[in-house]
């Protein structure tokens, strides 16, 4: 029984981390129509920055997380300046390129990231002497941060800013004629999305206590895209629902008697099947209203 509770709590934490990632990505892809294929890279920036600040400089988790968000914001601002000049397929390809570059940095900057060896022994969060080492307490932290990200995302989407994002998605040239410099809006939402991804990265690093570059590949970015497409583009509820659905579905594959190697291959094949089926029969996702 104890093991079962532990297992479901673990699942809930993973769902929470993916929900945070999906919320940030949905602002960029679902609401603004910018097909970013580099979200996992900012997730990695958050994870590495937090891990390094905690293990190398002894920073508290919360300060390290705040600083990792700042680092992700600065980095995404620079990348966004370039990407915001593109749209459509070029945006997707450009973001994929930047994602591959950041992955290469995680892998090759061995003096800092330890390359493929990764960073072990990342401490658990601590606040005023209270350690979030118990899994249920860590879940509480994830839920609080996920709820905060959800509320912030809702604030963004319900503002006039959110309406402009949707207009950019629908017809960027037309909204420009009405006096909007869309570059600023695209850049801002990209930076917000990256900052949110960094929070998820910080939680992931501290929860698993070990990170390496394999968690932040282009494939992971595509997995995140499939979460929001499945749940619903331009839907915050859809982001959470997509995270629940895909994490539980793929976890379920481990319990049908397949070897772990086979389950991993099945998981990738299933992404493909789900994405193709969605594009064919429900391009707006489970609870979304909008189509790419």
């Amino acid at each position: 029984m104890q093991e079962l509770i532990y297992y479901f709590t673990h699942l809930a934490i993973i769902i929470g981390i993916y929900a945070i990632l999906a919320l940030g990505l949905n602002l960029v892809v679902g609401y603004t129509g910018l097909l970013s294929v580099m979200h996992a890279a900012f997730y990695g920036v958050g994870a590495y920055a937090t891990a390094l600040l905690m293990t190398q400089l002894g920073f508290n988790f919360f300060i390290a997380t705040g600083l990792s968000v700042v680092i992700a914001i600065v980095l995404s601002f620079a990348i966004g300046l370039v990407l915001s000049r593109f749209d459509g397929d070029y945006y997707a390809l450009g973001s994929l390129g930047f994602g591959v570059i950041l992955y290469s940095v995680f892998l090759s900057w061995r003096g800092v990231t330890r390359g493929a060896l990764g960073i072990p022994q990342i401490p658990k969060p601590e606040l005023f002497g209270f350690e979030f080492s118990q899994i249920t307490v860590f879940l509480l932290l994830v839920v609080v941060l996920a709820a905060g990200v959800y509320l912030c995302s809702r604030f963004v989407t319900r503002s006039s800013f959110g309406r402009v994002l949707m207009a950019i998605r629908e017809d960027e040239r037309a909204i420009q004629v009405f006096g909007y410099n869309t570059l600023y809006f695209k850049l801002t939402v990209f930076v917000i999305g990256a900052g949110i991804a960094a929070i998820a990265g910080a939680l992931f690093a501290s929860y698993i206590t070990y990170i390496n570059p394999s968690s932040f590949t282009a494939m992971e970015s595509i997995y995140l895209l499939s979460i929001i497409i499945l749940g619903g583009l331009a839907s915050l509820r859809g982001s959470v629902l997509g995270a629940v659905f895909l994490v539980v579905l793929f976890e379920g594959l481990r319990h049908i008697g397949l070897s772990s190697d086979m389950a991993a291959h099945m998981r990738e094949a299933l992404y493909g099947v789900i994405l193709v089926a969605l594009m064919l029969y429900r391009p707006q996702g489970l609870v979304g209203k909008y189509k790419l």
Partner: protein
């Protein structure tokens, strides 16, 4: 007095002159019709005046200021707004949001943190009521009929109360007679408010009914400009419409 003046505007698309040294003046507070056969450069001219297309050569004067390069996002600041020949709505947004998005804050921070003013709701409602689409405010724009979509695009520019120049690219195309009456009233209302209206239209009856000035274009060149009576009496204009 002119509100927009063009000097030798030239634009080529793959070697074809869409605009060939066009110099003209759009008078302030009047309705100006642009007529001419298909491919004569009417829409390209409006696209240049609204920053959608950048001219290869020539200069624009807007409100007395020389503007050599006009970007789409600067058009609003020059007091210009427009509709499109092919309707360009924010399709998956509601009818109301299609209007609200053009009356709210332009700056990123203000649009994010400032609460929407009552003025925005009032102006959006007024624009939608004028074209008879208030009841449809919660529908997605994509769900409207073709005529309603045209009217929504007109409501969108009508909501731009600060604009001084309204460019309409074939606003009557595909409209039922009752809808045509609505758009005619919109244009007459704008003229009464002292706004400048530029209208691309193929119906000579509507041009005669609405326009104070007519510009005739042919093969990217300005053929004639003047009152409808004088312009339509010119042999070269008659040749275009009767002779061809």
């Amino acid at each position: 007095m002119s509100t927009i003046k063009t000097e030798n505007i030239t634009k080529q698309f793959e070697g074809v002159h869409a605009l060939d040294g066009v110099s003209l003046e759009i008078p302030r507070g009047r309705v100006t019709g642009i007529v001419g056969p298909n491919g004569s450069g009417k829409t390209t001219l409006v696209n240049v005046l609204s920053g959608i297309v950048r001219q290869d050569a020539g200069v624009l004067h807007i409100g007395g200021k020389e503007v050599s390069i006009l970007k789409p996002q600067q058009v609003n600041a020059h007091g210009i707004t427009r509709t499109f020949q092919e309707v360009r709505l924010f399709e998956q947004m509601t009818v109301l949001d299609n209007i609200l998005v053009v009356v709210t804050e332009r700056a990123v921070a203000a649009s994010l943190f400032r609460r929407r003013q009552e003025r925005c709701d009032r102006e959006a409602r007024q624009a939608l009521e004028t074209v008879g689409l208030w009841e449809k405010r919660s529908s997605p724009a994509a769900a409207l009929s073709y005529g309603q979509r045209k009217l929504l695009e007109i409501a969108r520019v009508l909501a731009m109360r600060e604009a001084e120049v309204y460019l309409f690219d074939e606003p009557f195309a595909g409209l039922f007679p009752a809808m045509v009456d609505v758009v005619v009233k919109v244009m007459q209302g704008l003229k009464q408010e002292g706004k400048s209206v530029v209208l691309i239209e193929h119906s000579m009856d509507l041009i005669r009914q609405l326009c104070d000035t007519v510009i005739v274009m042919d093969e990217g060149k300005l053929l004639a400009q003047g009152t409808p009576e004088t312009v339509f009496a010119k042999p070269e204009v008659i040749a275009i419409y009767v002779g061809k």
